[in-house]
Symmetry: C2
Subunit: 221 residues, 2 copies
């Protein structure tokens, strides 16, 4: 349960908890749409193939009210708490740099906005792309990035350029005041202390998966 001192929420979810919350949200949302009124941590755990204690702990962390033994949590309240906790209610602005195929995919994905992320605009150095509208988003030239960030105070930058350009884009972003970077380029970024980076890293994922498969096939494990 969230405990409040003044207006400050003090439940600090771990990274791993945090990455499960959106899954709970979308699952419980589905139940709501099916007309359910209550949901138990146990049921969620079973549907999502997770340890029940884990789910219980996660949910009790974000819920504003205690769950009722034997019934569980009221879905409407719980969804509210989840979306509040995840910041789905208040919208963060972001910019995206690198309007290649991945960049376009992200720019045009409408689901991010329901998760509180509004990608305001894309930047690209290719003059052929500049001025185009992709989805409903305009593509601006790289030269305008600095003034854009400074004018709007946007804090989140998404990098979808090729790996060899990622560091330089990152440096520019940081220079202009971006505080959090979502990096889709396959390279680790060097950032000053205090700048947040979240890497999306397909080669790493693939390595884990294919190694596990190899082990399995070899019966090592």
């Amino acid at each position: 349960m969230i405990r409040c001192i003044g207006k400050c929420t003090i439940f600090a979810a771990s990274k791993s908890t945090l990455s499960r919350l959106p899954l709970y949200y979308s699952h419980i949302r589905k139940m709501q749409q099916q007309g359910e009124k209550y949901v138990s941590a146990a049921a969620v755990a079973q549907s999502l193939n997770l340890n029940p204690v884990l789910v219980r702990k996660d949910l009790s962390g974000v819920s504003s009210v205690e769950g009722k033994p034997r019934a569980g949590f009221e879905i409407d309240t719980l969804l509210n708490d989840l979306s509040e906790f995840l910041g789905y209610n208040k919208v963060d602005e972001a910019i995206l740099v690198g309007v290649g195929s991945l960049g376009r995919l992200i720019l045009t994905n409408t689901e991010f906005s329901s998760m509180g992320l509004d990608i305001a605009v894309g930047f690209d150095k290719d003059p052929d792309l500049v001025g185009l509208q992709i989805g409903s988003k305009y593509i601006l030239p790289m030269e305008k990035m600095e003034s854009y960030i400074k004018r709007t105070g946007v804090k989140i930058g998404i990098i979808t350029v090729p790996a060899d350009q990622a560091q330089s884009v990152c440096d520019q972003m940081v220079e202009c005041g971006i505080l959090a970077i979502w990096n889709f380029a396959f390279t680790l970024l060097n950032v000053p202390k205090g700048i947040l980076v979240k890497n999306e890293n397909l080669p790493s994922s693939l390595a884990v998966l294919s190694q596990q498969l190899a082990n399995k096939l070899n019966n090592i494990k």
Copy 2:
């Protein structure tokens, strides 16, 4: 160092180690191309912003020879060991289901093949897509998936369909003998014990990033 009993390698890398290895590989590869002959774990750690002990441990795990104090590891040998360990040398086949924009992106990405993953063919239920060639890959109708998997013995399936269709595609795959699933749909999959699943989950990543940013802005942390 890899120790061998008969022909069986017994270093079992943890998931977290495994997901760092591709980063080491690509970084050290870059050094090789710049003409370097030796690399130290310490140097890699510094470039990638990682703890030196961690890198040392990871590298000593995969390297076939011991690193030389004061010099480090011979780059050519180390890269060989890394790519051997990661299975970049031997190619795994995979199929992909769901040829939307993300599916296309993955189908046409040429980098996977250098990482030992060959996406042989795509499947889609949309008759307009069937028969097309995207990149160099053919799109087949869903009905042919079963016979394709059984004929070729392919073991890896990539799911890029919308969330609400993912479970059913997954079930079909498992039914036909797929053992490892790379899931890009935003939903957790229920699979029988023993089937491997690796989820790519953007909403989860976003949740982590934006929460961290919020904490930062609130000076909670």
